[in-house]
Amino acid sequence: MTEVVTYREALAESMHNALERNDNSVIFGQGVDDFKGTFGTTLGLAEKFGAQRVQDVPIIEEGITGICMGAAMNGLRPIHVHIRADFLFLALNQVLNMAAKYKYMFAGHHEVPIFIRAVVGRSWGQGAQHSQSPQSLLSHFPGLKVIMPSSSQSILESYDYLLNDYHSPVVSLEHRLMYDLNFDVDRAGLRKGEQSLASYVARQGSDITIVATSIMVLEALRAAKHLEAFGIQCEVIDLHCTSDITEEVVLASVEKTGRLLVADTSWLKFGTCAEVARLVCENIPHRLKAPMKSVGMVPTPCPTAKALEDLYYPNLQTLVSDILEVLGESSSSIQLPDEKSMADVYKKFRGPF
């Protein structure tokens, strides 16, 4: 039995439950208690749980991250929200030098249960500083958990675990374009504990493995649907926790299909695509029947103009074309989708923010 829950509703429910289940949970962030309530995900919580527990903060990204850490070392469970992931860069000293290291450097004396939400922007002119997706940077550092939920189900299950039963620092990269999308949620099927972070097969197939993150999971599913009509079966894997890829899920799929494409929300160099390639090359290089391909953003900063932005991001047409290339199929025999702007598909998101 499923119900329809938007990405935004799943986030709001998770925030509410975190406060309700644990008296020591607090939410910090710019505007978390204002009339927009972090795109509607924290609306009404300050009124219900008190201003002290849902608190607007000065514009001090590094400071608040360090404050969250100190509070976490003294019994609180802080959630810190960045309305754009780009702002998290100001806090990297606390995230990478401090939070990711405190447990290890002090031999387990301290646990630092801080949960950082960072929203990745895309389309409607987000430009160079409102659109970055730093999963590869963050996943590089031991000590951090990095997740990229691609559905409401994924939010509900992984946030429930990480906000209640996990005790080390987490960064969740949410995707702004998905906030208003509807997802089917099967509450009885919500994964529990560590299992909620595992990479999983989002669609079964036998011809090619598409490993994807965040909104690219949805794109991969759309591409798979398009190709199904031509008799091509794509297997789609949602990596979800980029810092702790469930290697056996990826390897088992590639063993089966022999073909691989990785679709990520960021640049290719030193990125998630490179990491999945490492995983396959180190373990089962002989199982690849053809060279793999990577799909991501072109190697430039993000431009603001829509004409350029549409060239900067992959779209369904380029994604399908790349899949066909890995398969060695000629695109003359298989029709490409006539869709050159992914943002238009998810156009429920219109500006200004």
Partner: protein, 309 residues
Amino acid sequence: MTNSNNYEALYRQALLIRRVEEEIIRLYPSDKVQSPVHLSIGQEAVAVGLCSLLKPEDRMFATYRSHAFYLAKGGDLNAMMAELFGKVDGCCGGKGGSMHLAYPQVGFMGTSAVVASGIPNAVGNAYANKILGKSDLTLSVFGDGATEEGVYHESLNFASLHQLPIIFICENNQFAVHTRLQARQSYAIREHVQSYGIDTFHIKEGYDFCAVQTQFAQMLESYRENPRPLFIEIDTCRYMEHVGPGEDFYGGYRDESEQAEWRANDPLLTDLQTYEALLPAVNQLIENSVAFAEASPFPTITDLYQDVY
């Protein structure tokens, strides 16, 4: 405690710290301590005077130059020596070393090697104390160089905005590595702090643990009447090089004569009668700690992978 007993207790603590660091200097060429050391020699009285008035529940967040604060706050000497030797019985199992000492059992929460980065952690600890209704003190210890960092300003602002129960301690030794304060700061530290609405104090006699204790006691009274952010600047003098076991007058950036006044007032250098009386027992403790560290095993590959998440 009588005055003379108090003096002797503080002297013993300061002497222990200095002798521990002199032992580190002695051992350093043996390569048994394989990590950078930022020695506190010359600055011991600050830690000793302040910590003499703290309870184990009072929490302190400090810096890479914290051998003195670790010991004065009650951190175990054997565990510190084993930590410097990189052994499993170290206070952080050898994973922290000199720059990352911690002994939370006595409220010594940890030290960071990135200037100023521990300050917001202390503010967060104070924030939790406030909303959880705990009355323990929180102390944030840093040097004059830290006041140049952005996160220091962010922390002062937040602490004042929420009137958090926290005491900021600025150990002003006038130097950031080899650079004088005048070459780094366009502001006066306390005046600038006052612009955040935070009450400031100044202790000039950073060489005298009794003076630090007496003045800090008065400041604590003011704090307890009205728990709020307080800022205390304490003048002090780093006798040794920024990092390493030696002096660095050869570097030409400062002159021995600049330290003459500090050394002339340093009880560890001037009150030789007490020094001689306490030295044998202190040396014995240090000898024991070195033996403890030597005997402790090295960590293994199991330890390597522990406590990442």
